[in-house]
């Protein structure tokens, strides 16, 4: 399958350390962006973590890491925060994450390592670290230390390598040309928009 882009499985950046139980709503991202169904990362990035750290958006750099404790992303599994983090090519190391939140992160192409006991001791705010998600190996360049966390399952590495679930579906279609839409079938009207049942394919 062709890798369309985006998040590498090895990355280096600065750490932003949070504690246990950071919720998705009013934690990672205010609920109003979820209920507003905003999915444009440019609109979402300025509001990442603003409820718990108003200076976050000004400090964060592409490739940075979120280091979190237990139950990162608890509450309703809204994905707006993950969209913003994935667009910034961030990575997450946490002790645990509710399953639906973890699915949402992977689906958006955000690499996460769960089961990272001791991550908050390994990396402090602002530390420069490098993480290989495929092996779980982490190097703290600021502290001169290293640690091995549980690796990301290989199935999930593949999804991250394709930039998330949408990228993976596009790659599947590339590999299964027989499923590609042809021409000449009737159309359906969905919410006022005409959608042709079959048309020439547009693949990202």
């Amino acid at each position: 399958m062709k890798a369309s882009m985006t998040n590498p499985l090895t990355q280096r950046g600065r750490c932003h350390v949070f504690g246990d139980g950071i919720p998705l709503d009013e934690g990672v991202m205010a609920f109003k962006y979820a209920i507003g169904r905003i999915t444009d990362p440019e609109q979402l990035i300025p509001h990442l973590f603003e409820d718990i750290d108003p200076t976050f958006a000004a400090r964060v750099q592409p490739g940075d890491f979120v280091i979190a404790g237990r139950d990162f992303g608890c509450g309703k599994p809204h994905i707006q925060g993950f969209i913003a983090m994935a667009a910034l090519h961030m990575g997450v190391l946490c002790t645990s994450m509710p399953y639906k939140a973890m699915r949402g992160a992977i689906s958006k192409g955000l690499p996460v390592l769960t089961g990272c006991e001791g991550a908050a001791e390994f990396a402090r705010n602002g530390d420069d670290i490098e993480v290989n998600f495929a092996t779980g190996q982490a190097i703290n360049h600021t502290q001169g230390t290293h640690k091995t966390f549980p690796a990301m399952p290989s199935v999930l590495q593949d999804i991250i390598a394709h930039g998330g679930a949408q990228g993976q579906l596009a790659a599947w279609l590339d590999a299964h040309a027989e499923q590609r839409a042809g021409a000449g079938a009737p159309s359906v009207m969905i919410d006022g928009t005409t959608v042709h049942l079959v048309r020439k394919a547009v693949v990202a």
Partner: protein, 423 residues
């Protein structure tokens, strides 16, 4: 294989679904489902998404089942259009099983009744309440919006979940119901009462108490604890009457690696309600007795089997629905509706002043049918009771058992079913 590592039912079903002899909790796999069930609320969205990616066909259309349970009677012009689109999409994708409006009924029930979903099967479904199928020992994973990936590729990445085993002891007292057990368990898990994790765990029910629960009761129990974030719910063995002929090995090994295990005494269960806001907000019914109601609903995916209506109908001997209460009866399936009409149950409800709705979700599908008005109060056997579930955002929905709903519809307020429950 006598030396094989012991497995839970969930491991066995998932291992078989990815053609392996063993899978371990925590592994991420691509299991292939025997069915993919998508309801009428999501078919168009799935089509739009795959179409925009360039897909003209899906991977295994013969395994796909479209069901119509959310907008059964087309309450709007948009619903008429949606029905037409679904039929066209089904044709374009060559979908194997299409249950149109008025056919089949609730997609979480009729596939069990008709033997389409059988013990040991693995399925994917769009809707989370597919956990119902655990009542017959089938494992249906809720894919949510990711069901588009199942349609496109034939599978979806799945982490093999851990299992919590609950051994049911004793039997329910008269007037108590499996739904009451479900509310208590959901509340207890949310409060951490047993000190066990429940996020993305399979809750497996076993122990001698399961033999006292019929299929409808098992469905009610599977359904009531679904929304607390479990991966699934399974009964260790199917009830009598469920055909296991030709089923694969789907029973947990005696020394299966359960993550945790505890006993639950059915004999201790009194009637409960779930307070408005969520199925885990259990409260003893006697704490809220007398709360006036405007609306009552019997049916929906968790309590839409024939036995649910038969049990509730027994409370209506010589009783009528209270003035000022709209009491809706929603048979789960076309087959159940026919049986109720044949044997007089429908007559009992109609004589009492109930309103019969077509098989499906009833008001629980967002209130597109028989909605709750602003500031009104309902008692229902619905799957959930979050704000706005029956329409009005400030409507208050209590959840209760079929018995509690019937008693309350008669009293015009939340009422204890025990005085009306025959011995």
């Amino acid at each position: 294989m006598t030396n094989a590592a012991p497995m839970t039912a969930t491991q066995k079903i998932l291992a078989r679904a990815c053609q392996r002899s063993h899978v371990a909790p925590g592994e991420v796999i691509y299991p292939e489902p025997e069915w993919v069930i998508v309801h009428d609320g999501f078919v168009e969205t799935a089509y739009k998404e795959l179409h925009s990616l360039g897909y003209g066909s899906i991977a295994h259309p013969e395994r796909v089942m479209f069901v119509t349970d959310h907008e059964v009677s087309y309450g709007s012009q948009r619903a008429v259009e949606r029905g037409r689109n679904i039929r066209q999409i089904a044709k374009a994708w060559k979908v194997g099983q299409v249950y149109d409006a008025g056919r089949g009924g609730h997609g979480h029930i009729f596939p069990m009744e008709q033997g389409l979903v059988r013990p040991g099967m693995f399925l994917f479904a769009y809707d989370m309440h597919c956990t119902n199928f655990g009542a017959v020992g089938a494992l249906a994973m809720a894919a949510g919006t990711e069901v588009t990936a199942v349609l496109a590729t034939g599978s979806l990445w799945t982490r093999v979940p851990e299992t919590v085993r609950i051994d049911l002891q004793g039997q329910l007292p008269r007037g108590s119901h499996a739904r009451d057990v479900g509310f208590l368990l959901a509340h207890g898990f949310a409060q951490g009462r047993w000190g066990v994790e429940h996020d993305y765990r399979v809750i497996e029910f076993g122990g001698p108490g399961i033999d006292t629960l019929d299929l409808a009761s098992r469905v009610a129990l599977c359904n009531s604890i679904t929304e607390m974030g479990v991966a699934n719910v399974l009964f260790a063995t199917p009830p009598p009457g469920v055909d296991t002929h030709g089923a694969p090995d789907f029973i947990s090994d005696a020394n299966a690696p359960y993550e945790s295990r505890f006993d639950f005494d059915l004999g201790s269960v009194s009637p409960q309600v779930a307070l408005p806001g969520g199925p885990d907000r259990a409260e003893r019914l006697d704490k809220v007795l007398g709360q006036p109601i405007d609306h009552a609903t019997l049916g929906a995916c968790g309590s839409g089997m024939y036995q649910d209506f038969a049990d509730a109908a027994r409370l209506f001997q010589g009783q009528r629905v209270a003035d000022g209460v709209r009491f809706f009866v929603v048979p789960g399936t076309a087959q159940t509706a026919r049986r109720m009409a044949d044997d007089g149950l429908t007559q009992i409800f109609l004589d009492a002043g109930a309103i019969m709705l077509p098989p499906g979700c009833g008001p629980c599908a967002g209130g597109s049918m028989a909605p709750l008005g602003p500031a009104e109060v309902s008692i229902a056997t619905a799957a959930t009771n979050h704000a706005g579930r029956f329409g009005a955002h400030d409507g208050q929905i209590y959840l209760g058992s079929p018995l509690t709903v019937a008693a309350s519809a008669i009293a015009g307020c939340l009422a204890d079913p025990r005085p009306l429950t025959p011995a």
